[in-house]
Symmetry: C2
Subunit: 106 residues, 2 copies
DNA sequence: TTACATACGTAGATCATCGACATATGGTGG
DNA sequence: CCACCATATGTCGATGATCTACGTATGTAA
């Protein structure tokens, strides 16, 4: 009962902080924000979009039809923003626990 | 290929920052450090101890026999400490990404 | 015409974690 | 005396997010 958000999920939500994005654009934004470290796999992305929508953390705010295929734009909901900030604070606290010791960089 | 350390693993290693501890004591120390939030399940703990030992992140530094049962004390290795600090810095960076926006507490 | 970026999606496998169980001792409360 | 909890180690099956690899389609650059 310790389980929380995993990194791909965290960065997916973080990617939506500025503005609504469609699925594939989220991959690029997450990579950008993480300095290239987080590369969301499409299998992770589309599964997570469905899951987070069902959880009420994100929602579809616009749908375009491009080449006969739906392009959905997702936005953070209020709950999603709250959960993300809570998660960030837990992470900051956990990081502090380790870093206050040796300030030594890895 | 984004996968990193999960929270129980992170707190298991953090619990060993001060001094070597035996398995069960790690549960208490992790709970203490996290303000009661992280409650390591024994299934998680003993599996993780084996895994992290195999990975070279922790090692057995002392063994006592209590009531005919081995009590093993684990310590962080150099690699384990390095990995933990690296993880902490990634977490701090990720947290900053979200918290620099609304300083608003969750 | 081959290949890559864009863009959506599915399917099977992996693996850390979880909940429940098993076992044993020592202490405390009813 | 007996139930329960803390201490302590450990196993087993299930869960669930993520990963790799595949499939489809268009536009564009080499």
């Amino acid at each position: 009962m310790t389980q929380r958000m995993r990194e791909p999920t965290y960065f997916l939500l973080t990617a939506l902080l500025d503005e609504p994005l469609h699925g594939y654009a989220i991959i690029g934004r997450a990579a950008e924000l993480s300095g290239g470290r987080v590369r969301l796999a499409t299998g992770t992305l589309y599964a997570a979009l469905d899951r987070l929508t069902a959880e009420g953390f994100i929602e579809v705010v616009r749908t375009e039809i491009v080449n006969g295929r739906a392009r959905r734009y997702y936005a953070l909901t209020r709950d999603g923003g709250t959960a993300l900030r809570a998660e960030a604070q837990i992470m900051a606290g956990a990081a502090r626990l380790v870093l206050r010791f040796a300030g030594g960089v890895a």
